[in-house]
């Protein structure tokens, strides 16, 4: 092992309780293999899981209705119209894609920094990334108006002899988001291969053996395979790190490259990336806190993990808050009439309440995380995480319609009001995301089993045998 690993803080506390390689496999694998146990309505999980899954499935259907109506009528059913050409569609796109970023941060950036604590939460966070990007992708796709022609965005030879304009950040977005989705699936997928092999060897059902056998690609744990596997895994970590930074930077270019007051700043890329991590960790905590108790995984996702995730939220939250203050400074320091008016309009204009909600939810409430006592209060942490999710949504609301609704000509001023179809689709994507997460925890090991084994191996003092 390299020296870097020896600096890890109290690594032995990352797995609580007395565990062997066998009990690790059992504890994590049983969630998937013993479906009956958790389906029993008398079991504490059974009732919660079924009721919540039904609720989210219902919301997913709300989305289907909203999308169906949209496709039938056209995007006129949405509230965005001149001067606010962008509304809920772009707010929600940026919100979701930001949430996804915590997964990549945990799986890739923490991997490169050799943070062993990531091993308990990376699988979960990566799944979240994939589902969040799926939700995000729907919005620009549908906002094209004719989603069946969305492939026109890609450069391919066609009889119209038309090609995309590569000077546009919206085209960069297509490349960034589709690459991000693909690489996230690859990263998640190869992480699952050895765990599917474990399930293949543990399951007693014939169908399970066949399905897990296919999914594991016949993985047999050969040292030569593991070596290439680790090379590929670390390289993917190295590739995903600049990728995740570039994706949200490119998303912020959608705004920053324009000349609109409030958007045209160099601050946007770093502040968007920090905001993405902030929102993503909040969403990880929102889901992980109940799941770890329901499925008896508190030995692997310990209070230490929660504590550290809270600290990451606190740090990125401060960067975001600094961004809000810097925006005010930039506006007034620029001496530009448009910028100054935009800032005054944000604070005292018709949407003043959204701006102060943002400051309260993203700036002030997260400061409670400074206290360790608060970081160890799970209900409070969940509450703060939900507040942050709301806050990050308001951040995009403040940025998008607030800059757009005051056009350069006062005669073109207007207000942005979402319609019921905007709201229905937004709530629907929350349902889709949560429903997919609920399915994920029951059909795929939600914690990387082989990495926990490795963690157990490297964190125990060397001795004769421990099996």
């Amino acid at each position: 092992m390299s020296d870097l690993n020896d600096n890890r803080p109290n690594v032995d506390l990352l797995i609580e309780g007395e565990h062997t390689h066998e009990t690790i496999t059992q504890t994590i694998g049983s969630v998937v293999l013993e479906q009956g146990k958790y389906n029993d309505p008398k079991h504490k999980v059974g009732k919660n899981w079924i009721l919540l899954a039904l609720l989210f499935f219902g919301l997913l259907n709300v989305m289907m209705v909203a999308v169906g109506w949209l496709l039938y009528q056209g995007i006129g059913v949405w509230g965005n119209n001149q001067p606010s050409g962008w509304g809920f569609d772009i707010i929600n796109f940026v919100w979701w894609i930001g949430i996804g970023h915590a997964g990549t941060l945990i799986s890739a950036v923490l991997l490169l920094m050799r943070q062993k604590w990531r091993m308990s939460i990376n699988r979960f966070a990566e799944a979240m990334t994939i589902f969040a990007v799926m939700c995000a992708g729907l919005f620009p796709l549908l906002h094209t108006g004719r989603p069946w022609n969305a492939y026109w965005l890609f450069p391919y030879p066609n009889w119209m002899a038309l090609w995309p304009n590569f000077r546009s950040p919206l085209v960069w977005d297509v490349f960034a988001v589709s690459t991000y989705m693909t690489v996230s699936i690859l990263f998640w997928g190869i992480g699952l291969v050895p765990d599917f092999a474990s399930l293949r060897d543990r399951t007693k059902s014939k169908i399970g053996k066949t399905l897990y056998g296919f999914a594991s690609l016949g993985w047999r744990g050969s040292t030569k395979h593991w070596m290439r596997y680790e090379q590929a895994y670390y390289i993917l970590g190295g590739l995903s790190t600049p990728l995740v930074l570039s994706v949200h930077s490119i998303v912020s270019f959608d705004f920053a490259v324009s000349i609109l007051p409030g958007w045209h700043t160099t601050l946007f890329p770093p502040y968007f990336v920090a905001g993405a991590v902030f929102a993503g960790f909040a969403m990880v905590l929102t889901f992980l806190i109940p799941m770890r108790t329901w499925f008896n995984l508190t030995d692997f996702v310990t209070m230490k993990h929660i504590d550290w995730m809270c600290k990451v939220m606190l740090a990125t939250g401060l960067i975001v808050f600094y961004g809000y203050l810097a925006e005010i400074y930039f506006a007034f320091y620029s001496g530009n009439k448009g910028e100054i008016d935009m800032m005054i309009n944000r604070m005292f204009g018709p949407y003043w309440w959204a701006y102060y909600t943002l400051i309260l939810t993203n700036g002030i409430i997260p400061q409670m995380l400074w206290k360790q006592k608060n970081r160890h209060n799970l209900k409070l942490v969940m509450f703060i995480s939900c507040v942050i999710s709301v806050g990050m949504w308001f951040e995009r609301f403040v940025i998008i319609p607030m800059s757009l609704h005051r056009d350069f000509l006062p005669s073109s001023w207007g207000m942005y009001v979402p319609t019921i179809w905007d709201i229905g689709m937004f709530i629907g994507t929350i349902g889709m995301f949560a429903f997919l997460m609920f399915l994920f925890v029951r059909f795929v090991p939600m914690i990387s089993i082989f990495e926990i084994r490795e963690l157990l191996h490297v964190s125990k003092p060397k001795k004769g045998g421990h099996s």
Partner: protein
């Protein structure tokens, strides 16, 4: 009808209950001159590839080449599209406005490199391979849980049907088993 060929020996497998004994045994085998070896473990064990004398850097090179192809190809595509196939004036910018072409080229570099890493790894590992003779070894289902295995293959020049198993049983192995090749028609 063709004759079913009996496979003969594939190799000898020794089972261990901890990675340190496995590394020790593999190091001894390497010292004995065995070279066609493989080990099996439920998680990547550091020091094990060196112990069985395996060294390779093909995956990183695959990634490097794939990344260059992605980045170079991406830039070339954008040049061809914007300058040759469909030249048009966007805000007075030059046709080959390369700074704007960096984000897509950058993303394509990462995309291709990631494909190189994943499919390079899978291809070099010759996966998917649903069956392999080593799966016949007793307790091998625990290779994905808590047991560690060392395999010396029969095509190793030093392999001997009697001496190799007796060499392995002198290590800390829990048991030593001879496994046979696939019989034709097993599929």
């Amino acid at each position: 009808m063709h004759e079913v060929k009996r496979g003969g020996q594939f190799g000898v497998v020794a089972e261990f209950d901890n990675p340190d004994s496995l590394i020790e045994a593999a190091t001894k085998a390497l010292d004995q001159g065995y070279s066609k070896m493989d080990a099996f473990s439920p998680f990547p064990v550091h020091g094990l590839p060196e112990a069985i004398g395996f060294k390779e850097a093909k995956v990183p090179w695959t990634v490097f080449i794939a990344g260059i192809l992605g980045g170079g190809g991406g830039m070339a595509l954008q040049y061809w599209v914007s300058v040759i196939a469909y030249p048009h004036n966007v805000g007075g910018r030059p046709l080959f406005s390369w700074p704007s072409f960096i984000p897509p080229a950058y993303e394509l570099t990462i995309l291709f490199a990631a494909f190189g890493a994943v499919f390079g790894m899978i291809g070099l590992n010759k996966l998917p391979q649903p069956h392999h003779p080593v799966f016949d070894a007793p307790n091998f289902d625990r290779a994905s849980q808590d047991r560690f295995f060392l395999l010396i293959e029969s095509h190793d020049p030093n392999f001997n049907e009697k001496e190799t198993p007796s060499f392995l049983s002198k290590t800390d192995a829990l048991n030593v088993t001879v496994i046979n090749k696939e019989e034709e028609g097993d599929w």
